[in-house]
Symmetry: C2
Subunit: 370 residues, 2 copies
C-alpha cells in the first residue's frame, strides 16, 4: 500500500447505493481527481494558487461526487463560522420580522448567515447566551434585549462581538444602532403641541428597555420645557393585551387625554382598536394617537397611523457597517449610531396647520421649521 502512494481506493460514494452514504470529503475528491487533498482545498479557497488544469480536474471530480466543502471543518480551522447570531424578542411586534428579513438579506450579501434566537416573553436570557457562546458565532446582534454589564463582560471575555440594534446600554464599549428615540419623541411632542392638544399622555413599554426609557424621557422633557406639564404616563408591556389595558385605563379616566403617544406602532395598533371599538373614538378626530417605528402595517388603510419612522434600510445599513468594523478586528472603538427618521403624517392624529410637506417618496412628513 504505502509503496504506491497514488492509486488509492476510489471513494465509496461512487458506488451508487441510493444516496445514503456519507457526504464526500476533500480526500474522496482528491483520489478521484488524482491530486492531493491540498489541491482540492485550494480549489475551493478563494485566492489560493491552483493551476487551471488542476482546478478543472478537481471541479469535475467534485461535481461527480456532489462534493461541497464542510463549513464545520473549515470553521474549526479558520476560527470563522460566517454565522451571526441574532437575538430577538417581541417577535409579534410587526416591526421586527421585516427587520429580521432586511438583516438576513444584507448580511447574506456579505456571506453571513443568521442563527436565530427568539426569546419568549419573560424568558431568562442567560441560558440563551450560553448557547450562543457555545456556537461560536462571529458576532451577535441583539435587538430589544437588555445586555447587562455582567453579560456584556461575559461576551467580551468569550471574544464575542456584540452589537445592540434598536436598544443600547449605558456602557460606551458596546456598539449600538438605534433610531432617533430622543429626537423622534421630541418631534412627536412638538407635533401634538402644534396641532393644539391639551391633555397629553403616553403609553410606555417596559422600563428595562432603553428605547422606551429614552422616548419617555424626551417626550416628557419637551412637554415640560414648553410649559405643557408632564404627560400622563402609563406602562404597557409591549404586548397587545398590555397596550389595550393601558388604553382602557387612559380612556376611562375622568380627564381623558386627547393626545396619546404610544411607545411603538405595535402598541399604537392596539390602542387604535380599543379607541374605536370600545370607546367610539375616531382616531385623528376625537383623539390623536401616534406611534413609533413606521412598521409597514402602519401605512395600511385600516390604520393610517401617524408615526415617527425608524427607517429599516438605514438601520440595517448602519448595522452591517458596524458589524464589518467589529469583525475586521481593527479594534476600532464601539460606535453608538443614531439613525434619524421622520414624522410620517397619516390619519391617526390631528394635523397641525403648518409644516406638513411631501418627501421624495410622496409620503407626507412633518418638518417643524417649515
Amino acid at each position: 500500500m504505502s509503496s504506491t502512494p497514488r492509486p488509492l481506493p476510489l471513494p465509496a460514494a461512487l458506488a451508487n447505493d441510493g444516496g445514503r452514504q456519507q457526504a464526500a470529503t476533500a480526500i474522496d475528491v482528491a483520489r478521484l481527481a488524482g491530486v492531493s487533498q491540498s489541491a482540492v482545498s485550494r480549489t475551493f479557497t478563494k485566492g489560493a494558487s491552483v493551476s487551471k488544469t488542476t482546478r478543472a480536474a478537481v471541479m469535475a471530480a467534485a461535481a461527480q461526487l456532489g462534493y461541497r466543502p464542510n463549513l464545520i471543518a473549515r470553521s474549526l480551522i479558520t476560527g470563522r463560522s460566517n454565522i451571526v447570531g441574532v437575538v430577538m424578542a417581541h417577535f409579534d411586534n410587526q416591526f421586527f420580522p421585516p427587520l429580521l428579513q432586511a438583516l438576513s438579506f444584507e448580511l447574506g450579501k456579505l456571506g453571513y448567515h443568521l442563527l436565530l434566537f427568539l426569546i419568549p416573553a419573560g424568558a431568562d436570557f442567560e441560558p440563551v447566551l450560553d448557547d450562543i457562546l457555545r456556537h461560536r458565532v462571529e458576532a451577535l446582534i441583539m435587538t430589544s434585549v437588555a445586555l447587562s454589564e455582567s453579560r456584556a463582560e461575559l461576551c467580551r471575555a468569550a471574544g464575542l462581538k456584540v452589537l445592540q440594534l434598536n436598544s443600547r446600554t449605558d456602557s460606551p464599549d458596546i456598539a449600538s444602532i438605534t433610531g432617533d428615540n430622543a429626537g423622534g419623541a421630541a418631534t412627536i411632542a412638538a407635533y401634538l403641541a402644534a396641532s393644539q392638544h391639551r391633555r397629553y399622555a403616553m403609553i410606555t413599554g417596559m422600563d428595562d428597555n432603553s428605547a422606551s426609557r429614552d422616548r419617555e424621557a424626551a417626550y416628557t422633557r419637551w412637554l415640560e420645557s414648553h410649559g405643557l406639564g408632564a404627560p400622563t404616563r402609563i406602562r404597557g408591556d409591549y404586548s397587545l393585551e398590555g397596550a389595550a389595558a393601558a388604553a382602557r385605563t387612559l380612556f376611562s379616566g375622568t380627564t381623558r387625554p386627547d393626545a396619546v403617544f404610544c411607545v411603538n406602532d405595535h402598541t399604537a395598533l392596539a390602542v387604535l382598536g380599543v379607541a374605536r371599538a370600545e370607546f367610539g373614538l375616531e382616531p385623528g378626530r376625537d383623539v390623536s394617537i401616534i406611534g413609533f417605528d413606521d412598521a409597514p402595517i402602519a401605512a395600511w388603510p385600516e390604520y393610517r397611523l401617524t408615526t415617527y419612522s425608524q427607517p429599516l434600510a438605514a438601520l440595517v445599513d448602519a448595522t452591517t457597517q458596524a458589524l464589518a468594523s467589529l469583525l475586521d478586528g481593527t479594534g476600532a472603538p464601539a460606535e453608538q449610531v443614531v439613525v434619524t427618521g421622520q414624522l410620517v403624517v397619516r390619519a391617526s392624529a390631528r394635523r397641525p396647520a403648518t409644516g406638513i410637506i411631501r418627501d421624495g417618496d410622496g409620503r407626507e412628513i412633518w418638518v417643524p421649521g417649515s
Copy 2:
C-alpha cells in the same frame, strides 16, 4: 519540560489582559484542574462516566476560565450540528413570522437552533441550497418553496433530510406537513354556498405553489360538483400589490362576484382594504371575503376575517415529530401529514343560517353537518 508531564504552563487566559484572548479550550481547563482533556470532555458530555470529584474540579476550572465547549469542534466529530435550516419566502405574509417563532420555540426545546434562510421574492433557490448543504445542517425545513425533484435528489445525495412545511411535492419520498388545503377549500365553498351566494370567485397564489393549486382545485371541484359552476379565478402573486390588483379587476368587472375566496389571509387583507377603500363595499354585507391560515391578524378588530385555520401549534407539533423521526435515522418512510383546521367565523363573509357553533376557546366556527 517534557520530563514532568503534569505541571504544564497555565493557560494564558488566566492572565487578565482585558479579555481579548482566545476562548479557553478543554486542554486549558484540564491543565488548571489537573486532569486530562478527556475528563473535561466527559464532564460536559451528558451520560459520560466521571466521578463527582473530577466533575467538581473541572467545573471549577471551567468557571474560572469561562470555558464553554466549542460546538463547532463537537459537530465535526459527532457529525451532528444541532442546527436545523429553515427556508422561508414571503416573509411579509403575516402567517410566517409566527410560524417561525413557534418553530424556534419548539425546536429549541429539543436542543436545536435555527439557521435562517429567507428567500427574496423571485430569487434563485439553487445557490441558497448550496449554502445550506455546505453548512451541514442536520435537517432542512422548507416552507412554501417548491422543491423540485432534481433539488430533492441533490439533498438526498448529500444526506440532507428535508421536510416541507406548508407545501408539498408530488414525490412520496419527501415528508411534508400541510394544512388541510383540500378540506379547507371545500369547506369554504360549502360555507359560501350555505350563505346563499351567487357569483363565486377566487384569488389564487402562484401556480408553482402546491398549497395554492390544491386550494384552487378543491374549491373549484366542490362548486362544480354542486352545480354552482366554475368560479372566476384570477391569479394573485402572494404580494399585497398583486392581491390588490386582482381585487380591482374582480370588483370592476361587469358581473361583480359576491363571494371571494382568497388563497390566504395575506391576500385577503389586501382585498378587504380594496373593497372598502376603493369600492365602498363592506365585507360581510356587500361582498363575502374568506381567507386561509387564520393568522393572528385575522382576528384583529379592523379585519375580523372569516378564514379556514391552519393551527400553528398542531402544525409545529407535527413538524417536530416528523423531524424527530427523520433524525432518528430509523429509515421510516416519509410521511405526508395533513393537519386539519376549522372554518373560523368572523365578520368578513355573510353568515349562513345554520351550522355555526362555538369551540372550546369561544371562537365561532362553522361545522357543515350541525
